[in-house]
Each structure stands twice: as C-alpha cells, then as structure tokens.
C-alpha cells in the first residue's frame, strides 16, 4: 500500500501530525518546557518556559537539594526493587529508571490533601507522598494486592489494568468539587487530583473517557502522562499520531509538554497545573517527555525491540546528573552533601532489603477476608471448608 498524500486537513497541522511510522523520540521540540540543559546549566527564560519561570525562581537552594535527594533516593528504591526481583525475593518489578525527575517534580507539586492515582511505576510519586517504599513491595512479592492504606497518604493503590485509574481520579475530583474544596482560596482546604499513566495508556478507552468527563465537569484533576517512549515493545507511533499534550485541547483543556528529565521544569509545570486545578480552573494534561531506561518490567527484554544507541542518547539526559550539575554550578551543594545523600541511599536500600526479606507470608485463611464488607454466605462457607480441610492434616507431620 502506498502512503496516501496528506489531506488539506493534515497539512494545516503539519507541524503536529507525524507521518505514520516516524517520530523523534530524542527531541521534545520547541514546545517542551525546560529549565536545565543536559549539563544542568540554567537555560535562559524563553517563550516556552516563561510562564513557569516565576515558580522556579521561587525555589531556594534548600529546595534544590531536597529535590536532588529525592531523585537519588527514589532511584535507589528502584534499584533495590530490581535487585530483589533478580534475587528471587520479588516476582516482578516495574522499574522507573530514567523517570525520576518527572515523578519527583509531579510529586513535590502535590500538597498533603491532594490525591494521587498511580499506575504501577509511580514509586517516585509514592515517595513524595510519604508512602514507605517497603510498602510497595508486598504486591510484587505476592503477599497482598496493594499493601498500603491509600487514605493515609492520599496515594491510591497501584492499578494494573492500564488506564482504569484515570477515571477514578476524575471521579474523585468530582467529589472534591461536590465537597466545595476547590476555589475557596484556603490553602489547607482546596484540593486537586493527579492521575498518572504512560504513553501506552493514552490509547485506552478509560483514559479518553476520563479526559471527556474531566473536561465536561471542569474537574480539579491533572493528568500526568509520562511519555517514556515505549509501551512494552511498542513505540509512540504505534500509540498515537499526535502527541498527548496536543490532544488535550481536543478535550477542552490545556496540554503542556515538559522535559521529564528536568526536575525543575517538571515541578514548575505540575505546580502551575495543580494550582490552577485547586483554584477551580479545571484540568490540565501534562506530557512529561522522558525515557524508560530499563525494561518495561523485569519480565521484559528491551534488547529485542530497541537499539542501544537510543538508550545512550538518553543516558546523556540523565535527570540526576543534570540536577547535580545545576547544584554544583550554582554552588548550592558541596561534596559532603552529595556523599551524605549517597550514604542515606545505602541505608535506605538496606532497610528495604531487610523489610522485604522479613515480610511474612499471610495466614492462609486471610485470602477469604475483606471480599465483602458484610458477610457473604458463599465466601463464609468456603472459608469454613478451607479451614476444616487444612485442619484435617494436623498431626500428619511437617510438610
């Protein structure tokens, strides 16, 4: 089949629509909000980043150090999860390597009362929301299906079915509206929601319905799409013809592309969007342009579908290297600080490892717990049968 000539409609948007089978995954283009170059030098204010410059300017050196610390610790959490899977302690681990800045930027833009709805790779957002990292391990170890109280930190359980959570986030935001917790000007009351998914998630029906509902309701929700360029083995051009940030307009609200490897930019864009949502100005879609450096999960083999040269290009854009460069250039941090963060990461890793290895297997009958709030006779009967069956082995010796 020959490639059809672009229609007039497409020509009107030729800067937008990529030809099928083509896209540049290394360059976010002129629309991408960026504050740090690859070495961590502060970029001049330009037309694209100007709306967010004030937010970045308001950051203190201490904020910068705190962001750097988050990046390093989150990477270490991820590395430990990966190692624990390789050692047989976890059944699976979805790595966030390369996406630390996007997640820390988004996470730090949230206030305590804001609610996050993650996919299953948002370990960095969990960190920023105060979820103990070891709590993330239970579901990957197979002892539970989500081992944290989502209301304790306003961080919902991980959602495995791609895109389901985008609707939960939107509904939660509609609840915030009904509670009158938006646009009051009270910083401790006004709340918003952040919903996380990847580039693959943008193809899902639930994602698109969530954007429709959010737009119609003008709900206080920020959709944070981490475009890490790969949906398992499928590149962006198998997911969409125009990038997510440009599609937002079709749903009736703004879309912004941000450099997801630049923590300052990710934070500034996320904060502006969350502030707007809390103020009653409705949703924003943020496309964090980033890269998944590792496999989709530990079950995946990225060498089958992508070339090493591509990974090398992105290694140069490393978010931690970039932030460190910024802090050093500005003189905001010294060697002692970086050493202390590394030491803290070592301690954190040891803590996670210990917690993982000491995580007990659940008592077997608990698999019948909490299926229903009120007793369900079928579940109750099966539980009793199960307990009776197992007790029939008592006295038969160890097995």
């Amino acid at each position: 089949m020959t490639q059809a000539e672009p229609t007039d409609v497409v020509r009107h948007h030729e800067t937008v629509v990529t030809p099928p089978g083509e896209h540049d995954i290394t360059d976010g283009g002129p629309d991408m909000v960026q504050f740090l170059d690859a070495e961590g030098n502060r970029l001049e204010t330009n037309e694209t980043n100007a709306p967010y410059a004030e937010i970045v300017e308001a950051l203190t050196p201490e904020d910068g150090r705190a962001m750097y610390r988050d990046l390093v610790l989150v990477r270490r959490v991820d590395a430990e999860g990966h190692a624990l899977q390789r050692q047989g302690e976890l059944g699976l681990w979805p790595s966030l390597l390369g996406q630390e800045a996007a997640q820390v930027g988004a996470g730090r833009a949230m206030r305590e009362q804001d609610y996050a709805f993650p996919g299953y790779r948002e370990h960095g957002v969990a960190w920023c929301k105060g979820v103990p990292p070891e709590n993330l391990l239970g579901m990957f170890r197979g002892v539970n299906n989500g081992g944290w109280d989502s209301n304790a930190n306003n961080f919902h359980l991980y959602t495995i079915v791609i895109g389901n959570q985008m609707l939960h986030a939107t509904g939660y935001a509609m609840g915030i509206q009904r509670d009158g917790a938006v646009g009051t000007g009270d910083e401790s009351r006004d709340a918003a929601v952040m919903a996380f998914t990847g580039d693959g998630g943008t193809a899902q029906g639930d994602y698109n319905e969530a954007l429709v509902f959010a737009g119609v309701a003008n709900a206080p929700v920020v959709f944070f799409v981490q475009n890490n360029q790969w949906a398992i083995s499928e590149p962006n051009y198998k997911q969409f013809r125009i990038p997510p940030y440009l599609r937002a307009r079709g749903f009736g609200f703004p879309g912004v592309r941000v450099d997801g490897n630049d923590v300052l930019a990710s934070y500034a864009v996320a904060k502006a969007a969350m502030d707007a949502a809390r103020a009653g100005q409705g949703p924003t879609l943020i496309e964090a342009f980033t890269y998944r450096m590792g496999a989709h999960t530990t079950s995946d083999d990225p060498t089958k579908y992508r070339v090493a040269a591509e990974v090398d290009i992105w290694r140069e854009k490393d978010p931690i290297k970039r932030m460190r460069g910024f802090l050093e250039t500005k003189g905001y941090a010294d060697a002692a600080f970086f050493d202390a963060v590394d030491a803290e990461a070592d301690e954190l890793a040891a803590r996670i490892r210990k917690a993982c290895q000491e995580m007990p297997d659940p008592e077997l009958p608990t698999m019948f717990d909490d299926i229903y709030v009120d007793e369900h006779p079928v579940v109750a009967a099966e539980r009793a049968e199960f307990v009776s069956y197992h007790s029939s082995f008592e006295g038969e010796g160890a097995h």
Binding site: D149, G171, G175, I176
Partner: protein, 337 residues
C-alpha cells in the same frame, strides 16, 4: 401516647417504576452523599423515567447527566466512592453494560479486597434488563450470571413494586457494590406498597421470598419471571397441581437455606429465568439442590430459560422467553418421574 394508633396512611398503589423512584428519593433524602449518575437521568428522568423529578428536587450536583460513556460512568463513580460518596449509576439498558464491564469486574468488585478492607465501594449499578418489550438488539438481555460469577459484587433483582422500593434503599445502604437488576417489562406492574419507614423492609437484601405456597413442584425464579411463574401456578392449580414459587431476589449471594427448604418441600424443582440456561443461574441453583437435597429429590432439577443463542430479534422473543406453556411443560416432565 397513642402512637400505635396513628394510621400510617402511607400505603400507596405504585408501579414498580414508581417504587424504584420513591426508593431513590427516600435514599437521597436520608443521605446527602447519595448521588445519581447516568445518561439522561436528569431532566428526562431516564429513558424509563425511573429518576423522574429527582434532579429538579436534588439539583444537578446530585443527579448527574453524564457523557455517553459507560466505563466513564462507572469509573468516575469509583472515584466518588473513594471520596465518600454513594453513587447510584444507571446503565440505560442491559446490553450497554459491557463497555463498563472492565471497571466493574477489575475495580468495583476487587477494590475492597485489594485494599485489605480499607476502601469501600458502596455503589449501586442499576440495570434495566430482560426482554418482552419488542425492543431492538442489545435492549433485552439478561446478563446477571456474568456479575454473579464475580466475587466482590452483590447481585439482586426485584420483581414487584414493594421490593423495588425497599430493595433499592437497602442496596444503596449496603457498603458493598450492588448490581441492581430491574425487570423492565414489569416496570408498569402495580401493587400496594407501605412507604412508611417505620414499616421497614420486610426482608433482608440477601433473602429469597416465597411468593406462593405449594406442595407438588417448586418453581425457583426471579425478576421478570416471577409473574410468569405465578401465572403458571394459577393455571396449574386449575388442573389440580400445586406449585410452590420461590423468588430468589438475591443472585449473589444465593439464599441457600430458602432454596433447600423450597426444594425439600416438594422434591421436584424447576428453575425458571430469561437468561440462556447454559452456565446460567439455573445451573448453579440446580447444582446446589442436588448437592444439598439429593435424598429429597423425586426428579432431576429441570431448567427453563432462554436458548443458548444471542437474544433474538423481537419477532422471535415469544418463543425465546419462557412462557406459561414452557413452564407447565417442565412441571409435567418433573411430575412424570
């Protein structure tokens, strides 16, 4: 005090549709966290007018006209539950629930368990179901077995105006998610209902109801087929056959004590429903009865239901749907053993 002598004056003759409407209204009055959502539920009052007048009285924030997207309706309702609301969502017709199937099965049913009991999804999903109204395709299905098969969901169905009124309120009060099936061809059936809250619900949401006492053969049924079975019992009585009619009301959980009692009473059971019999509710009921009542049975448990084909064009539906003759034929076969 002569309170006990105060006449309630609250007994009204209502259609099943009005019973549902009144039940919704009572629940919304009782709890400001109850919100209704669905396509056309606002000004129009739903295509069957079940939500008629509610938006006018409770406002657009509580009776929400949604975009035309079923996954969106159910998925956003999950989020509202997480924020402390009790959404009652309307799926316009049985055959339109499938776009929301993923949300219901993957999220609504499992979130309480996944959160180790920390999160609750007190949602009611209303589905007008069943055939017999001459509708076009996708408007006449009985898909209750899909949901009854899924742990974490409660599945119920009303068969008369009184149950419509009380079961709706009980379903909304339930902290578990409830799939609430409404027999659309019975929407206009009338009966007297005591709306006084002091009267209370005569039965729990999970309980079956004996609709007619009998001694020869037990009919186990629910929803739109209850009326059909009662008519069959009338006809059988004229021939000297006494049919016992049990209305399941709850499909998950099943009221096992009520089922075994009804089965043992006659030793002969015919299960009647509109859905295809293959892997339908009747299969489960028959299996439970043979497991629990084997020595009481005089005949194999028989099933009368839809054939194992897609719901057919409406010119076929009189033959597809169980009717008096097919029920009575099964009764005769049971008695022949």
């Amino acid at each position: 005090m002569a309170a006990q002598n105060v006449p309630t004056g609250s007994v009204q003759r209502l259609t099943l549709a009005k019973g549902l409407n009144s039940g919704l209204r009572a629940a919304m009055k009782a709890d400001p966290k109850v919100v209704l959502m669905g396509e056309d539920v606002g000004k129009l009052g739903g295509v069957f007018r079940i939500t008629e007048g509610l938006q006018k009285d409770f406002g657009e924030d509580r009776v929400i006209d949604t975009p035309l997207a079923e996954a969106g309706i159910v998925g956003t309702a999950v989020g509202l539950c997480l924020r402390g609301y009790r959404p009652v969502v309307e799926i316009q017709f049985d055959g339109f629930v499938y776009p929301a199937f993923d949300q219901i099965i993957s999220q609504v049913a499992k979130m309480h368990a996944r959160s180790l009991g920390a999160l609750r999804i007190p949602m009611v999903i209303r589905i007008p179901y069943g055939g017999g109204i001459g509708a076009v395709e996708h408007h006449s299905e009985s898909n209750e077995a899909y949901f009854a098969h899924t742990a974490g969901l409660r599945v119920v169905t009303c068969s008369d105006p009184g149950d419509a009124y009380w079961m709706m309120q009980q379903a909304i009060a339930s902290d578990d998610p409830v799939i609430f099936y409404e027999p659309k061809r019975r929407y206009h059936e009338k009966a007297e209902v005591d709306l006084d809250e002091r009267a209370g619900a005569p039965l729990g949401l999970h309980q079956a109801a004996v609709r007619r006492e009998g001694t020869d053969v037990t009919l186990v049924t629910y929803g739109p087929m209850v009326k059909t079975c009662l008519q069959a019992a009338e006809a059988a009585a004229a021939e000297g056959i006494s049919l016992h009619v049990l209305d399941l009301r709850s499909l998950s959980p099943l009221d096992l004590p009520a089922i075994t009692e009804a089965a043992k009473r006659t030793g002969r059971v015919v299960v009647v429903h509109e859905a295809s019999t293959f892997l339908g509710m009747g299969a489960e009921v028959a299996s439970l009865i043979q497991q629990e009542c084997f020595y009481h049975l005089e005949a194999p448990v028989l099933r009368v239901g839809g054939y194992n084909i897609p719901y057919p064009p409406s010119r076929f539906e009189e033959e597809f749907l169980p009717n008096l003759d097919r029920v009575l034929d099964a009764v005769d076969r049971s008695l022949e053993f």
